[in-house]
């Protein structure tokens, strides 16, 4: 019999080689995070179908309570469709400030189990539990302790998957929902994965799935037994990678200092906006301010600002022309007003006689805000220090009273339904 293909590995891979040291990885994912927070804060909403991110008819659902899911409502579903499925549902714009605040506590619970936590978004993370059994007991004990602590400290429910690889842990937590805990050990890993549909694997999207189905690959087991060289011809370098995953070989480590590359805010409008309109300018300012707040909360500064515009003219099959413009600042910033000014300057340079359906602001080229020395000569004198003080005061107010109590006059109600993308 031919030996199994070997993965070429560098010496550094030894540590993360699953055969070298069996790993224990949890994927923890909050159940209906935003909707659950709304139900937690407002008892009247409990037991009712709550849909967050859905006050605008053109937006998409960002979170739906399990009561709403019974109607077939799912995240990322267009709001129009959610309304059709559940006309009596409670549609809420969402309070990002509050969600971020709770997310911080969620993160603290994760970190109380292991220092190696890799957040995937506000409410979802991988936790490397390798070596923590001595502290917390069996993997099942670990999972139960995590769920119990989460409930005690946040009042929210988390679903947990625990496995020797990242991919399996993620699949398990998905399957366990709602309020679930699934654990699998290395010896049963293959037999667990084999019968699952192949699109459970990361990297198998709609197009790949169709091509796999045509090649007779329907389950993960089908893929695992498929000839790698054929897969390479079909899918390029992704082929062998997927083959490895299907064979339960996923040496990717949990990365603690996972570095975010950008921060962005965007929204789709109820009706298309003119390029030069005040409303569009408001949206840019609101997004910029929100980004500034998030940068400051994370103690990060950004140097590049990108604006993104989706034009109203449909290209068919749900696609629209996309315009982006970027500018790099002389000095990194965490000030919403600076980001807004840059975004508006970029906007002024866009000259297309068309309406806009979606507008977004993004910042990248991030650097950690460890330049803590304040400057004597800001231009104009003291401007930057004053902005810093103002921003911090506003941040404090929002942290204490929520983000509806204070905003720029211009921004007032401009952000009816922010959709938020986590990168």
């Amino acid at each position: 019999m031919k030996p199994p293909p070997r993965i070429r590995s560098s010496p550094g891979d030894l540590l993360s080689d699953p055969s070298a040291a069996p790993r224990l990885i949890a994927h923890a994912d909050m159940d209906a995070f935003y909707a659950s927070i709304e139900q937690l804060d407002n008892p009247e909403l409990r037991g009712k179908p709550v849909i967050v991110g859905g006050t605008s008819m053109r937006g998409v659902v960002t979170s739906a309570s399990y009561e709403a899911r019974k109607f077939g409502i799912r995240s990322a579903m267009p709001t129009v469709e959610a309304h059709r499925l559940c006309p009596d549902g409670i549609f809420i714009a969402g309070r990002m400030g509050r969600y971020v605040e709770i997310a911080r506590r969620v993160r603290e619970v994760f970190e109380s189990f292991s220092p190696v936590v890799e957040p995937l978004s506000l409410d979802e993370a991988f936790i490397d539990l390798t070596g923590t059994q001595r502290l917390f007991g069996t993997p099942v004990d670990l999972g139960r302790a995590l769920k119990r602590q989460m409930l005690e400290r946040t009042g929210l429910i988390v679903s947990v998957g625990i496995a020797p690889t990242k991919m399996a842990a993620k699949i398990l937590s998905d399957l366990s929902k709602p309020d679930g805990l699934l654990v699998i050990t290395a010896e049963y890993l293959r037999s667990f994965l084999d019968p699952l549909p192949v699109d459970r694997l990361w990297g198998v999207g709609r197009v790949t799935l169709e091509r796999m189905n045509r090649a007779g690959i329907r389950t993960i087991g089908d893929l695992a037994r498929y000839d790698v060289s054929v897969l390479r011809r079909m899918f390029g370098s992704a082929g062998p990678h997927l083959h490895e995953l299907a064979n339960a070989r996923d040496p990717r480590p949990v990365i603690r200092d996972w570095q975010r590359k950008s921060y962005g805010e965007e929204s789709t409008f109820d009706r298309d906006l003119e390029l030069g309109s005040l409303e569009l300018r408001r949206v840019f300012v609101a997004h910029s301010e929100a980004i500034g707040r998030r940068l400051r909360a994370d103690r990060v500064r950004a140097r590049t600002v990108t604006v993104k515009l989706k034009l109203a003219r449909a290209l068919g099959s749900g696609r629209y022309p996309l315009l982006t413009r970027s500018a790099t600042l002389e000095k990194s910033t965490d000030d919403g007003a600076t980001i807004a000014q840059t975004a508006l300057n970029l906007l002024a340079r866009v000259r297309v006689p068309e309406r806009v359906r979606l507008a977004g602001v993004q910042v990248h080229h991030l650097e950690r805000d460890d330049e803590m020395q304040l400057q004597l000569f800001d231009s104009p004198a003291g401007h930057e220090a004053r902005r810093w003080r103002l921003n911090r005061a506003v941040d404090d107010v929002i942290r204490k009273f929520g983000d509806n109590v204070i905003s720029l006059g211009l921004v007032q109600a401009a952000k009816a339904s922010p959709t938020r993308r986590i990168k």
Partner: protein, 376 residues
């Protein structure tokens, strides 16, 4: 050609010159000292094109032919020798022979005609070049002004307008020196009879540091600093030092000096300096952040370095406002305390954690130090 020079006098002159000769040696002649013999004396010159020094010694010379020698090597030879006299003799081409007692050295000189002219007059006041001002001060007073400002000059060469000490006359009969690196600023005023000047000039740090050394040399009771349009120079004893002024506009320093502070806190200079030194042990190596926390009757100086350790020390002070904390770069505070006399007192003028602090001392009412806090 042959000259004989007293070794100790030559060593003094050469050590003064070492600070100016170009170390990087990108232009070989700038690493050399120009030696010009004349009747009963010899003149030594060195320059890096920005700063120039020229000094005279008594010497026995056979004829007035000039030559150059590598300044660093010459200094080392003269330093290591034990003889009372050093004699230098020209050999063929640009080769020179040095004799110190029984030791002999052979060195290659460069063509003296390629030695650049110094950024200086020949000690003559050249009215056409535009004298802006003449400052006459006691050498001690001038030295003290330099000490109280030069440490705050920016080490960042790119910020050239901050790369020197700003000298101006805020009013007739007063001389002011100001230095800043953009994080802190040091300002000192002194009475200077008859001194007047329109606008101000920026004196480069290197030249000013050399000038400061020269003030320690024996010489006249009055130091006479001449400021021309593009040059400043000072003659003391047999030595003349000249420097090209920094071109550029000094920032609006007056705008950043707080006119008043919420709290005025008096602290013993030595107590605070020692506490800062100890706290600095656990401050960040790059930013040296130290926290000053004020509470009823006390000031707690502390620092934390994750995974390394922490330090804290409480001092009694007359403080009775609302508790607050402010962060500073420990070096910025230590450096100003170092120019306040030992056993003196420092007065910290503070308002809140993001407003510039003002440090003064009763021992010098004309001195002010402004320092921006660090965010903690």
């Amino acid at each position: 050609m042959e000259i004989a020079i007293n070794r100790v006098a030559l060593l003094d002159a050469l050590s003064m010159i070492q600070g100016i000769v170009e170390r990087r040696n990108t232009v070989p002649i700038l690493g050399h000292v120009l030696i010009e013999p004349a009747e009963g004396r010899v003149r030594l010159s060195a320059t890096d094109l920005e700063v120039g020094i020229r000094t005279e010694l008594t010497a026995e010379a056979s004829d007035p032919a000039s030559f150059t020698l590598a300044a660093r090597k010459l200094f080392e030879i003269v330093r290591e020798t034990e003889a009372e006299q050093v004699t230098i003799k020209a050999l063929e081409r640009d080769w020179m022979e040095l004799r110190c007692g029984r030791a002999r050295f052979k060195m290659m000189g460069l063509d003296p005609r390629s030695f650049p002219s110094l950024p200086a007059t020949n000690g003559q006041l050249d009215r056409e070049r535009g004298i802006q001002a003449e400052l006459k001060l006691s050498p001690d007073v001038l030295a003290n002004m330099i000490d109280k400002t030069i440490f705050a000059v920016s080490p960042d060469e790119a910020r050239y307008n901050l790369s020197g000490v700003y000298l101006a006359a805020p009013e007739s009969g007063t001389v002011r020196m100001v230095a800043t690196d953009g994080h802190r600023l040091s300002l000192v005023d002194r009475e200077a009879g008859g001194f007047a000047m329109e606008g101000g000039v920026i004196i480069p740090r290197k030249g000013l540091a050399e000038l400061r050394k020269l003030l320690d040399e024996p010489g006249e009771d009055v130091a006479h600093l001449v400021i021309e349009r593009q040059l400043a120079w000072l003659r003391r004893g047999a030595t003349e030092l000249s420097m090209r002024l920094v071109e550029g506009e000094f920032p609006d320093y007056q705008g950043v000096i707080p006119t008043e502070s919420r709290y005025q806190i008096h602290v013993g200079r030595d107590i605070l300096l020692n506490a800062m030194r100890r706290a600095a042990i656990f401050s960040n190596e790059r930013y040296h952040g130290v926290k000053l926390a004020f509470a009823e009757g006390t000031l707690t100086v502390s620092s934390t370095s994750p995974e390394v350790g922490e330090a804290s020390e409480t001092i009694d002070v007359a403080f009775n406002g609302a508790e607050f904390s402010i962060g500073f770069n420990a070096l910025y505070i230590q450096q100003v305390l170092n120019v306040i006399p030992s056993e003196g007192e420092a007065v910290l003028g503070l308002s809140d954690e993001v407003t510039a602090g003002v440090i003064t001392t009763p021992s010098d009412s004309k001195f002010r130090y402004v320092v921006m806090p660090m965010r903690l």
